[in-house]
């Protein structure tokens, strides 16, 4: 036993090297809105409350000290699972009709754009521009709008006709460089109620032509299905979730590499890539790991339904089961659930939105954000049994 304690102490001190956290900290949540916290250098940018108003705060991950805050009632409109753009100099938030660019270092508003129609809740960028799709005012087309990150100056990149934009979904274009060309790619679903729904990837390459090309990656169907979630793009490789299908699409050669069909799709979680594998936390209460190069299933692991996003820390993979509100720690290589945690005491439940990184878990109980070193999860949270077959 004594040796165990020594080893445990050593483990804590070793893993403490990877954690930036000097002491646990707590920051109030906002009762008005929430989103997955964003990491910028040593800061964590998260939803909070300032004098009862919704605000965004940047918190020093090590100490919990506030670096800056930005308050406005507009933040109430933030969709909790939105996809902002963040790089070394800019943080761009898509909020309904607004696009707001901040300095992640100071919270200063660098520019702000408002259009007559609501834009997509996901934005992507390439260090020079940020891209967002909007319904055109005619309702018969979608627009790709490009915003200059330095000035906020916008320009129309492309207008893509659809049968009726208010019945369609076009996500914001994702920039890529496939080794030869740079370009943009968007998923589009042209929904025809009580008819056949058509969906495709809209692919545009800078070097080739001005015209965008359509590539069908999911069959036409009567259920309005197609690629509706943001993809993972890495070089010429891209991966898409369309209903229950995961599709690997080669952007350079413009062809489908593989397709696998899972028992269920994603709704609240998002596709992630880590190492050689793709990770999908599906609605059938399983986390799947799939080989990114072949689509071969590596393993699946039981989790609770309606899970949150998947986070990959060096130690393990983490996610929160949105329905059981339990934190899962999973061995990324074997798919084994290593541990399950809940808050100590009763009445406090883990919300789906959380952050894992820099050796720290930042968890949310609806009232506060609480930072806990990953190594201290067993002591600061309540450890739950890991059932072999958890009521599946």
């Amino acid at each position: 036993m004594r040796y165990l304690i020594v080893v445990w102490g050593l483990l804590i001190s070793l893993s403490g090297c990877s954690s930036v956290l000097q002491e646990s900290w707590v920051v109030p949540c906002s009762g008005h809105f929430e989103f997955y916290p964003l990491n910028w250098e040593q800061l964590l940018i998260l939803s909070s409350s300032c004098d009862s108003e919704p605000c965004i705060k940047a918190i020093d991950l090590r100490s919990g000290e506030e670096a800056w805050s930005l308050s406005d009632t507009l933040f109430k409109q933030v969709y909790y699972n939105f996809q902002p753009y963040l790089d070394e100099r800019y943080l761009v938030l898509p909020v309904g009709r607004e696009l707001i660019c901040l300095s992640p270092k100071t919270g200063e508003i660098l520019w702000q754009s408002r259009r007559s129609r609501s834009g997509d809740s996901h934005v992507f960028g390439d260090g020079q521009f940020v891209y967002r799709s909007y319904v055109a005012t005619s309702d018969s087309a979608f627009e790709w709008i490009r915003f200059d990150l330095d000035s906020g100056r916008d320009s129309l990149l492309l207008m893509s006709p659809v049968s009726k934009a208010s019945r369609c979904l076009m996500r914001s274009p994702v920039p890529f460089f496939d080794g030869r060309d740079s370009g943009l790619v968007s998923p589009v679903i042209d929904y025809e109620p009580r008819g056949l729904t058509e969906s495709y990837l809209l692919l545009w390459k800078q070097e080739q032509s001005a015209a965008a090309v359509r590539h069908t990656i999911y069959p036409d169907n009567e259920q309005g299905r197609g690629p509706s979630l943001p993809p993972v793009v890495a070089g010429k490789h891209s991966w898409w979730v369309a209903s229950q299908d995961v599709v690997s699409f080669d952007l350079a050669n413009e062809k489908i590499v593989w397709r696998v069909t899972l028992p269920h799709g994603l709704l609240t979680s998002r596709l992630t890539l880590h190492g050689d594998n793709l990770f999908l936390a599906c609605e059938d209460e399983k986390l799947y790991a799939i080989a990114a190069s072949t689509g071969k299933l590596q393993w699946s692991s039981p989790i609770a339904g309606t899970p949150g996003r998947v986070f990959h820390a060096p130690e393990a993979t983490y996610l929160i089961g949105g329905s059981d509100q339990v934190l899962y720690e999973i061995d990324r290589h074997k798919g084994q659930v290593l541990d399950r945690y809940a808050f100590q005491g009763t009445g406090r439940k883990l919300r789906r939105v959380a952050y894992f990184g820099h050796g720290v878990a930042v968890l949310n109980d609806g009232r506060n954000w609480q930072a806990v070193p990953l190594t201290a999860l067993p002591t600061q949270l309540r450890r739950l049994q890991v059932p072999e077959n958890n009521r599946k």
């Binding site: 036993m1 009762g31 008005h32 929430e34 800056w68 805050s69 930005l70 308050s71 507009l74 109430k76 409109q77 969709y79 909790y80 699972n81 309904g96 009709r97 100071t106 919270g107 200063e108 508003i109 408002r114 007559s116 129609r117 609501s118 809740s121 319904v135 005012t137 309702d139 208010s166 019945r167 979904l169 929904y191 109620p193 009580r194 729904t197 009567e222 259920q223 309005g224 299905r225 197609g226 509706s228 979630l229 209903s243 709704l267 609240t268 609605e283 609770a304 339904g305 309606t306 329905s323 059981d324 919300r351 789906r352 609806g366 049994q385 059932p387 072999e388 077959n389 958890n390 009521r391």
Partner: protein
């Protein structure tokens, strides 16, 4: 530290822009069968529009016809007079040949919505939240009489629980009183919708068989509550805030007071634990009964329930005997224990009444081998682990490990089907759903509970995902 204020300079300009409402989506939000099985639903569209800023028109609440509001008492379909107006027929003028209307409904409203989708091409997608798509066995328990003057199953369950109270005054927490009011509302209502939403009703059969399930995309949101689902449901029914727990908190506080009063009396503490653990033991007993019968093949629900009924009778009698043995010394304690036992009995009888119509799930669970990890018990446990003398260090390590990490074993468990207090999981399901979203730890009333100020529950996440298009444009609603 800096505090920046975002400028909303365009707010006024926006209001003056022509065609600002171009992106609005037409929707209809239908609640369920009165406050008896659905309440608070009107707050949900308000929260999604005013708080989360989604841009839609609710064709029901904005209906200019005024008196032609949604009238669910007209039901899904009248088989005696097929030409008589139904709620769906009455709704058609409200749709007014619009296209791409998204329907969102709770409880009985979902059945009306499905009929509306069969009749009218205006609807293009549906979100069915806690809808008795396969009919409700609980409603049947509360409404069905074998002969006209016979008692319903729910009334018999209530009488059983009342007999445990034995005229004690349990009005302080009053779970049985609230349950009685509720089942009376279900069984004596002049509104026929409860009969229509009961399982095997003509209306349910009609919707599921003829015509077949919906042709338009639909998403299912289904709720469930662990264990004392009925008490959770009664909590939400009695309170304006469906997340508050007046009944269960009241009962828990009474038991906690009793525990404090007798914190040094092991016998009474044991009795208190026995009473408060009745439901849990009922689950275990049920599992054991199913397990025993399962070894000889698949048991019929009737056989299992009969054996389970025998267990309840024996267990209840034994506990009441123990309670009465304490009455002379402490009348108040006896009262509290009888009241709590009646709650536990009511909740378990309700839960197991649903089994007749539901399924039993088989799983495994890790359970502790020792009641507590004391040194004495661990020494005993380790002695049993080794046939010969293992050596002091090995034995010592075993004891230390046992105390540090108490041993467990994996057992097979049989669990009754999940439910939201009113509807079983299988009753809320419908084949062909584009998405099935589990609102775990939501009772039937909490499935409607959405206010912008509350972070309770996950209904807001489910609706935000669907409105944002995560399940495709069929369910998407733009932001304002």
């Amino acid at each position: 530290m800096k505090n920046n204020k975002l400028l909303n300079t365009f707010a006024l300009t926006l209001l003056l822009l022509p065609g600002w409402a171009l992106g609005q989506r037409n929707t209809i939000w239908l609640d369920g069968a009165t406050t008896t099985t659905s309440k608070g639903w009107r707050g949900t569209p308000n929260a999604m529009r005013d708080f989360y800023n989604y841009d839609f028109v609710d064709l029901v609440s904005t209906n200019s016809a005024g008196s032609q509001e949604y009238d669910l008492s007209l039901g899904v379909r009248d088989f005696d007079i097929p030409t008589s107006p139904t709620a769906a027929i009455q709704m058609e003028p409200m749709l007014d040949n619009r296209s791409n209307v998204l329907g969102i409904a709770h409880d009985f409203g979902g059945l009306v919505l499905r009929e509306l989708a069969n009749r009218d091409n205006s609807l293009s997608a549906m979100i069915l939240d806690g809808v008795p798509n396969q009919g409700s066995s609980a409603v049947r328990m509360a409404t069905y009489r074998q002969i006209p003057d016979a008692k319903t199953r729910a009334q018999l369950i209530l009488e059983n629980a009342q007999s445990v109270q034995a005229m004690q005054d349990c009005d302080d927490c009053n779970a049985l009183g609230i349950f009685e009011t509720w089942i009376n509302a279900l069984s004596t209502s002049s509104v026929d919708v409860f009969n229509q939403m009961a399982n095997s009703s003509s209306q349910i059969n009609y919707l599921n068989d003829n015509p077949p399930p919906p042709e338009i995309p639909f998403a299912i949101l289904w709720g469930s509550v662990e264990e004392l689902s009925l008490m959770s449901l009664m909590d939400s029914r009695t309170s304006n805030n469906p997340w508050s727990t007046p009944i269960t908190s009241c009962a828990a506080e009474a038991m906690e007071r009793a525990r404090k009063d007798y914190e040094t009396d092991l016998e009474i503490l044991g009795l208190i634990s026995t009473v408060s653990g009745f439901f849990g033991r009922a689950l275990s007993a049920f599992g054991e009964i199913v397990g025993e019968f399962a070894e000889g093949g698949t048991p019929s629900p009737g056989t299992v329930l009969s054996a389970y009924g025998d267990w309840v009778v024996a267990e209840r009698s034994a506990i009441i005997e123990d309670i009465e043995a304490q009455r002379e010394a402490d009348q108040e304690l006896a009262r509290i224990l009888r009241c709590e036992l009646s709650h536990q009995l009511l909740a378990s009888e309700w839960q197991f009444g649903l089994i007749e119509y539901g399924t039993v799930e088989v799983g495994t669970e890790e359970v502790p081998l020792l009641p507590e990890a004391s040194q004495a018990l661990c020494i005993q446990y380790c002695q049993e682990q080794f046939t010969g003398f293992p050596g002091l260090s090995v034995f010592g390590n075993c004891v230390e490990d046992c105390m540090d990490d108490p041993p467990t074993q994996t057992v097979t468990v049989y669990l009754p089907e999940e439910n939201d207090g009113l509807l079983l999981k299988s009753e809320q399901m419908l084949d062909g759903a584009a998405h099935v979203y589990h609102l775990e730890e939501h009772n039937h009333f909490q499935e409607t509970a959405l206010s912008g100020q509350s972070s309770e529950g996950t209904l807001n996440h489910a609706l935000q995902e669907l409105f944002d298009g995560a399940a495709g444009p069929a369910f998407a609603v733009p932001k304002q």
